[in-house]
């Protein structure tokens, strides 16, 4: 493996993705762990000189998760001086056996355009990139220490997701095609970080006229079976 050269990618420009998933009642995001450093980071990458910014982000997302057609939203671009720390990138590259020349472009200061994605947890097939041991899920409120300003990026992603939740009805993107009202409520509660009233939530969702009701789901439990719903298309 040789280091990528600057001919192919824009210098100073990167993206980071905060990929949200939902499982076992918890909101989670994807983190990568770099080889031999114990360091965690958001999945991200660079933009090729012949592609759109958004295409680059989608390409990276596909490489890590195997998913296309993902709910994706740009939420902020991080461009402060303090986020520049060439030692971090140098250490990561050297831990991978690279010889990093002085002035190598990946050590430069970067402006990172951050996106968040909402995906169906069950559908992903995770693949680490060449610099990482692993990519896996972490609960948003139990994250390990992250490199650079990545914790700040996650924080801002969460804030944006919360404030967009009501306005854009995006909660369903974290669930499979069909789901129960309880599961939908659990998604909302995990994102907002607070319990919601069951009856009010149900009434609200139904009155919005965005759900389609399907057959009941019989779980074998000894109580009334809930309906399955999907979002109207």
């Amino acid at each position: 493996m040789t280091l990528p050269s600057t001919d192919r990618y824009f210098p100073h420009i990167a993206y980071d993705s905060v990929v949200f998933g939902f499982s076992k009642g918890k909101l989670k995001i994807l983190l990568m762990e770099y080889h031999d450093t114990g360091w965690f980071a958001l999945p991200g990458g660079f933009v090729r000189k012949d592609e759109d910014l958004e295409s680059a982000v989608k390409r990276g997302l596909f490489e890590r998760t195997g998913l296309k057609d993902v709910y994706l939203e740009q939420f902020h671009t991080f461009g402060s001086k303090e986020r520049h720390n060439p030692k971090v990138m140098r250490t990561i590259l050297e831990a991978n056996g690279h010889v990093v020349p002085e002035g190598y472009w990946m050590l430069d200061r970067f402006f990172s355009i951050a996106y968040y994605a909402l995906i169906d947890f069950e559908k992903v097939v995770l693949t680490p990139d060449s610099l990482s041991d692993s990519i896996s899920w972490y609960e948003v409120n139990q994250l390990p220490k992250l490199i650079l300003d990545h914790s700040k990026i996650v924080q801002k992603a969460l804030e944006t997701l919360r404030s967009n939740l009501e306005r854009k009805l995006i909660g369903g993107n974290l669930l499979p095609e069909r789901f129960t009202m309880n599961e939908l409520q659990a998604v909302y509660e995990a994102i907002l970080g607070e319990k919601l009233r069951r009856t009010s939530f149900q009434r609200k969702m139904l009155s919005l006229d965005i759900l389609e009701r399907h057959e009941k789901l019989f779980t074998g439990k000894s109580h009334k079976a809930p309906y399955l719903y999907s979002f109207k298309s």
Copy 2:
């Protein structure tokens, strides 16, 4: 005047500002008209290698308007391939008497980080940059044709401003320190593009407990004088 060299600025990275002002009941933004081209564009600029992104935007805003401490919000980064059109920048530079070498950095593809600003119309002192004949106010719903994707940038700024208006109570930034309830309502109406109910608006604003009531404003008109208000600090 010589062309700026790339040593000082980041290549491929620019910012654009949508500066909103309010006057005579209309919502307006600042546009610059380039020398000898008849072309209009948003005020923008480049980021110096030794400054924060936000500092660069504030510096540019100060140079054009004479204002510091402005309400400023980043809302989107534009990074599609289609926005790259080197002929436009070449023409602008050449119309200013520059000799533009092949491969000059300002002709490259740029990622533009867009901000909107809310300012007190009465406070600005406008100063065009060296490439422009003028910088002046244009009604948002009567804009001339803009270069590149600047119309799209304005559109997105307006959408963001609208959706932030209620959540962040930012309307007051377009008014002087003290204002009447009617003026505040006019700001809201101009931004939202719709008439609001006078009594509901007043009740809502007062119930939010964010306004301080001051002395009355006697305009000489033969009717009850309105109170002046300011935002609580």
